[in-house]
Symmetry: C2
Subunit: 89 residues, 2 copies
């Protein structure tokens, strides 16, 4: 069965790269559509990233980072993506 969810469409990107990415996003003046959360869960379940705050998603996959940014934009939000290394300062 072909899976047509927006999450899976956005994940259909051949490139991947290991590393660490943080996606800081915001839905200004409105809460995201419940489908945003359902699709974010789909992405998380297949790629292993997770929310570390209500508006901050952490992932070890470039492909997942792109998908999460794409989801935020699809549902009308704004996203900033950072490539990161956790620091022990």
């Amino acid at each position: 069965m072909v899976n047509h969810s927006i999450a899976h469409q956005l994940l259909d990107d051949r490139d991947d790269e290991a590393g660490q990415w943080i996606i800081v996003y915001d839905f200004i003046e409105n809460k995201p559509n419940p489908n945003f959360w359902a699709n974010l869960k789909r992405v998380s379940e297949t790629h292993g990233g997770s929310l570390i705050q209500y508006s901050v998603y952490k992932t070890g996959s470039l492909r997942e980072a792109k998908a999460v940014k794409g989801l935020v934009k699809h549902y009308g939000g704004e996203a900033i993506v950072f490539r990161c290394v956790e620091s022990n300062i």
Copy 2:
């Protein structure tokens, strides 16, 4: 006049380094003391970093990143610090 605010005490650290840091913090089960915000403002005014979300602070100074992490801990919160580069994925 000597400035004894916790913000200035925490900034009294000789090391500094340019770069980009993100501090993701949380005050679990309680809101931060209003003095947290006053001290965060002091740090921001002297070093130029800022909140990019309610719980996400961005700075171009290692010294400021350390001070913000110190402030969060001083007021009973938890902080994760990332050294970052903004990504155009």
